[in-house]
């Protein structure tokens, strides 16, 4: 029959699902864009801390929008109110949408109650970046830390998020850890919910 193979036509343009679109974006295109972003910020600032802060702010905007979009796409949307709920949401869903795979691991910090860590062998954004020696401990993963902070903040879990290199025995390149430190009120609320 004619037309049977066509995609379903929606009467109302708003009934069309927010398509997942093409699942993949070219990595080289992203790498070029990201390197330009870093260079642009580098010219404007005098010190490393400021550069890290700017990358984080850029990531924050992305995180806020990603949260809205993902929560809308997911069927049976439920608002996350538990700490572990939102952390596993970031660790699997957000990572899968942004980087095409789940994060390597999610751990709870041993020293402090309010610290959690998401680790990755090598962050996608850092794949084509090598930090010069005189920049010390700077990590372009600050962009990803900003994304995580954006998602947490807008979901109601204020936190301080930073990215660190953690040397691993037996491997030449250190692995990257995103350290999440939750605000006091989040822990109190969590304790109250039992």
């Amino acid at each position: 029959m004619i037309g049977v193979g066509k995609a379903k036509q929606y009467a109302n343009v708003l009934d069309r699902p927010i398509g997942k679109g093409k699942q993949e974006v070219s990595l080289s295109a992203f790498a070029f864009l990201f390197s330009e972003l870093v260079q642009y910020n580098q010219i404007q600032v005098d010190n490393i801390a400021e550069l890290e802060r700017r990358l984080e702010d850029a990531g924050y905007a992305v995180g806020a929008r990603v949260l809205e979009l993902l929560c809308h796409r997911e069927k049976g949307n439920r608002r996350e109110i538990r700490l572990l709920g939102i952390l596993s949401f970031i660790h699997s869903t957000v990572w899968k949408v942004l980087f095409g795979k789940v994060a390597d691991s999610l751990e709870k910090g041993t020293e402090h109650e309010d610290e959690y860590m998401i680790s990755e062998k090598e962050l996608l954004v850092n794949r084509f970046i090598s930090i010069p020696k005189d920049m010390g401990a700077f990590n372009c993963g600050a962009f990803v830390a900003g994304i995580v902070r954006g998602v947490l903040d807008n979901a109601g879990f204020p936190a301080v998020v930073t990215a660190h290199f953690v040397p691993v025995d037996g491997q030449h390149r250190p692995r990257t850890t995103i350290l999440i430190k939750f605000a006091e009120e989040v822990l109190q609320r969590e304790a109250r919910l039992g």
Binding site: I18, R65, H72, R78, R79, E80
Partner: protein
């Protein structure tokens, strides 16, 4: 007949408010929307008393006043959508569909890189989309 729709941010700041009647009673509509925010907060903070599941997005009929019915919807980021209508029989399913489409339009508006979170939504496209949704709501519920 939908009279008014509103988007309210997580600190109860208005992000978008639009009325669809010819009469000039926008102040009264603002007032109704504002009162219904209290009902939303009450539902969110006391789940046991209101008997609702704590994480549901669609909040249902909030507040039947005089000749208006007010429906609420809460998103993950504590942004609230309020719908004020004069229809006497609005089916639950219709309201849910309406809010689903409205949420889609809202996500599209917020994804705009020029949109500043926390400020009012000034996108013309969003306003057009909302008018379209409102018109189709009237048609489907009258059938």
């Amino acid at each position: 007949m939908i009279v008014c729709v509103a988007v309210v941010g997580h600190q109860n700041n208005p992000l978008y408010i639009q009325s669809f009647t010819k009469a000039d009673d926008s102040l009264k509509l603002h007032h109704i929307v504002h009162c219904s925010l209290d009902v939303v907060d009450e539902r969110v903070n006391n789940p046991k008393k209101s008997g609702l599941i704590i994480n549901e997005t669609f909040l249902g009929l909030l507040n039947p006043t005089e000749n208006y019915k007010v429906y609420g919807y809460l998103t993950n980021t504590k942004v609230k959508f309020i719908l004020v209508t004069t229809d006497l029989e609005v089916r639950d399913a219709d309201a849910r569909v309406f809010f689903g489409r409205f949420h889609t339009a809202y996500v599209n508006a917020v994804s705009n890189p020029f949109h500043i979170p926390g400020k009012k939504i000034t996108s013309r496209k969003f306003a057009e989309r909302v008018s379209t949704i409102v018109k189709s709501f009237g048609l489907s519920s009258s059938s």
